[in-house]
């Protein structure tokens, strides 16, 4: 602990700095449009970088304080935000080991991505808008991480979804980007809906949104197991949507339509790990729930990891390889949570954020040089772009889990936890590790080795990239080099127990497990799997260098199935959307609307009209007729009073 205890205002500054830059850029753009205010595009980039740099420094201070507090929550009181009759909604910040680490990861990766974006987005017509969205996204993610109440978390969760929609569809004039943005937004909404139900359920049962209180109540056994099952399954659904786990993973590969730095920030390092963070944040509730829930978490993660890794093998688009790799690695983290590997999951999240951001930015750098993402049109780039090449290989080695890079340590901890918990999940983990190495090095060999295959065919009036791919500008190369450092070194935290201590500090004392003991067989299996993957990739793609058609022909019908993504997109789009939603639910809703809702509305109208028609005849305008009725009424009243006595009215 180098500095004093972080004041609450500084913690809020982590969140409000990017909020401020979002608002300033938006205001600048509006002022430019309306009043001709000279808001220069470059200011947007600088403002964003400055704001996130402030956040980063504040997050470091928060982490420092958190280390000083052994990862325990720093005890900031929540503030009353909304007071409505009996409803008191509070907002606050919670800094403990988990959120401090997350805040540092988000701000540091985001900072580097923003610096990189200055080069990558240079000259784009939506430059300022891009940075406004990026600030908004970072703010939303930080709000999510720092939230002390579930409601606050949920609001920022949705803001993150909104920002990702805006960023994926950043080049909205491309129909594929607009469609991908919609797909990402709508698919995740399925999960978000269940999440919202879970939040409402738990609020109905406990009357509080406070994360800490809910976890305490769950651990104390104050909630029935059925409530806990509903609650945790709702959270899991939200996580499945946001973190692109099976069966809601289909949005993530399409989301690669956005600018590459967006993919690096959102779809690698931060947004997609929001689901993992959510489960980790509510981990005591998950542990208090029946064990089957955690088993389900583990198997959803394991299955997704395996499924996505296979898909990663057949992609020809370098960004899609990375996209499936992300799904697969997040599956790993979810698996880790399911096998009680709380620390391992967060540790992997931590290391993965760096090397995956590195890989995405590397692929963006490659794209900057060749103007294509198609690996079949790359090749031989290592001599043209040495910095990109070296850093990309470092990222890939780290992701593959080669000793002693960061990915090795975090993957190993997950495998250790899986080994202790369930041998089947361990086997899945090892297979995934093998395939991870295979697809990553397949990508490297296709992209950087062999002969250059020409890049994008030059369009009229554009530079010809077909002969001279070049290294990217310094603003892009610099973040690559910076990110390579944690991609190598971040794993060394595994050697001591400080990281474990810090992360576990955010859990109640009875849930802390300490560091798992090292099992020789686990380490050996993971290393062998990684090296075997690299070896197979080298054997197939470096020495034989086959056309992908030839590989496909060897394997029979399998590649066809895989290439069609196991028909999951078909299942989602045709069966679920077109048949079940459109033809089924929508039709039922349509019929219900027409024959029940409309019938009631029209029926009320018709009945009123008919009644009016009938009663109109009584109102004929014959005053004498009215008077007759009036008189008859009086006579009846008098007779009634006479027969029943004068107290008839009061009776």
């Amino acid at each position: 602990m180098l500095l004093g205890q972080v004041p609450e205002a500084v913690v809020w500054a982590i969140y409000f700095a990017p909020v401020a830059s979002t608002l300033l850029i938006t205001a600048g753009l509006i002022a430019r449009r309306l009043f001709g205010f000279a808001f220069h595009d470059a200011w947007a980039g600088r403002l964003t970088i400055l704001a996130i740099f402030i956040s980063f420094l504040a997050a470091l201070w928060a982490l420092d304080s958190s280390i000083g507090a052994d990862g325990e929550a720093l005890g900031f009181e929540p503030h009353l935000w909304l007071n409505l009759f009996d409803l008191h909604i509070e907002m606050g910040v919670r800094i403990d080991g988990l959120s401090a680490i997350m805040a540092v990861v988000v701000t540091s990766v985001s900072l580097l991505v923003q610096i990189y974006s200055v080069g990558y987005m240079h000259g784009d017509s939506g430059y300022a808008r891009y940075f406004a969205f990026m600030s908004l996204f970072t703010a939303a993610m930080l709000g999510l991480v720092l939230a002390s109440s579930l409601l606050q978390l949920f609001v920022h969760w949705e803001l993150v979804g909104l920002a990702s929609y805006l960023l994926i569809g950043f080049w909205f004039h491309r129909p594929s980007a607009a469609a991908a943005a919609k797909k990402a937004f709508i698919v995740t909404r399925f999960g978000d809906f269940a999440f919202l139900l879970a939040v409402l359920l738990i609020f109905g049962k406990t009357g509080t949104f406070d994360i800490h209180e809910i976890n305490e109540l769950a651990l104390a056994g104050a909630l029935s197991s059925s409530v806990l099952v509903g609650f945790t399954l709702g959270l899991l659904s939200g996580a499945i949507g946001k973190s692109a786990q099976f069966p809601l993973h289909i949005w993530l590969p399409d989301a690669m339509e956005g600018p590459t730095p967006v993919s690096a920030l959102i779809h690698a390092a931060t947004m997609v790990v929001a689901g993992v963070y959510l489960i980790a944040r509510m981990f005591p509730s998950f542990e208090a729930a029946p064990a089957e829930v955690l088993d389900l978490v583990a198997y959803v993660g394991g299955f997704t990891a395996l499924l996505a890794a296979v898909l990663g093998l057949v992609q020809t688009d370098i960004k899609r390889v990375l996209a499936y790799s992300t799904i697969s690695q997040i599956g790993y983290m979810v698996l880790a949570l399911g096998v009680l590997g709380y620390v391992a999951a967060i540790f992997h999240l931590f290391t993965h954020a760096f090397f995956k951001a590195l890989l995405f930015l590397g692929s963006g750098s490659v794209n900057h040089a060749t103007h294509t993402f198609d690996m079949r049109r790359m090749g031989g780039l290592r001599s043209y772009m040495p910095i990109t090449y070296v850093t990309f290989v470092i990222g890939a080695l780290s992701l593959s889990g080669v000793f002693p890079l960061a990915g090795f340590w975090s993957k190993d901890e997950i495998l250790l936890d899986a080994w202790k918990y369930d041998k089947l999940l361990f086997v899945i983990g090892v297979i995934v590790a093998f395939m991870t190495a295979l697809y990553m090095f397949r990508a490297i060999f296709m992209t950087f080795w062999g002969e250059y295959r020409g890049g994008e065919e030059p369009e009229a009036g554009h530079d010809d990239f077909s002969t001279h791919p070049h290294e990217s500008p310094p603003s892009m190369a610099f973040p690559l080099m910076i990110l390579a450092v944690p991609a190598v070194l971040a794993g060394l935290f595994a050697l001591g127990s400080d990281f474990t201590h810090l992360i576990e500090g955010s859990l109640p004392a009875e849930l802390r497990h300490g560091k798992p003991s090292i099992e020789g067989i686990v380490v050996a299996a993971s290393l062998v799997a990684a090296l075997a993957g690299i070896g197979v990739a080298a054997a197939v793609y470096l020495y034989r260098n086959p056309a992908s058609e030839a590989v496909a022909a060897r394997l029979g019908p399998l590649p066809g199935i895989v290439e069609r993504k196991y028909y999951l997109d078909f299942l989602a789009e045709t069966v679920v959307v077109r048949w079940i939603l459109n033809a089924g639910l929508q039709r039922i809703a349509d019929l219900f609307d027409r024959y029940v809702v409309d019938a009631i509305v029209n029926g009320i109208g018709t009945a009123t009209r008919l009644a009016g028609d009938g009663l109109r005849r009584a109102e004929a305008g014959y005053v004498q007729a009215y008077t007759s009725l009036f008189f008859i009424g009086i006579v009846i009243a008098v007779v009634v009073v006479a027969l029943l006595g004068t107290d008839v009215v009061s009776r």
């Binding site: 109109r616 109102e619 004929a620 305008g621 014959y622 005053v623 004498q624 008077t627 007759s628 008189f631």
Partner: protein, 108 residues
Amino acid sequence: MSVELAHYLTVGAMIFGVGIAIALAKRNAIAVLMGVELMLNGVNLTFLAFSRFGGAFDAADAPLAGHVFVVFVLTVAAAEAAVALAMAVLIYRRRETVDLDRINLMRW
């Protein structure tokens, strides 16, 4: 046989009944007005009978209450007759009829 309260009340009710029958049945506005006058006078007779014989309240408290009411009713009836007859004359000038069924300008 002396004339009791019941006799006065019966006559009053009869006059009132004849009045309302005319008011409800006649089409001629003037006739209707006459019916209304009859109804008022039926009520006047009832007031006077109660005032004279005593009724629901002790006549000693307000010995002339019934009579005062009758004077009021007569006054109001005179005013009402003046206004109503003036209207009838006006309507007749304009539409050449005082048939109530045909005075239907404001009907829906």
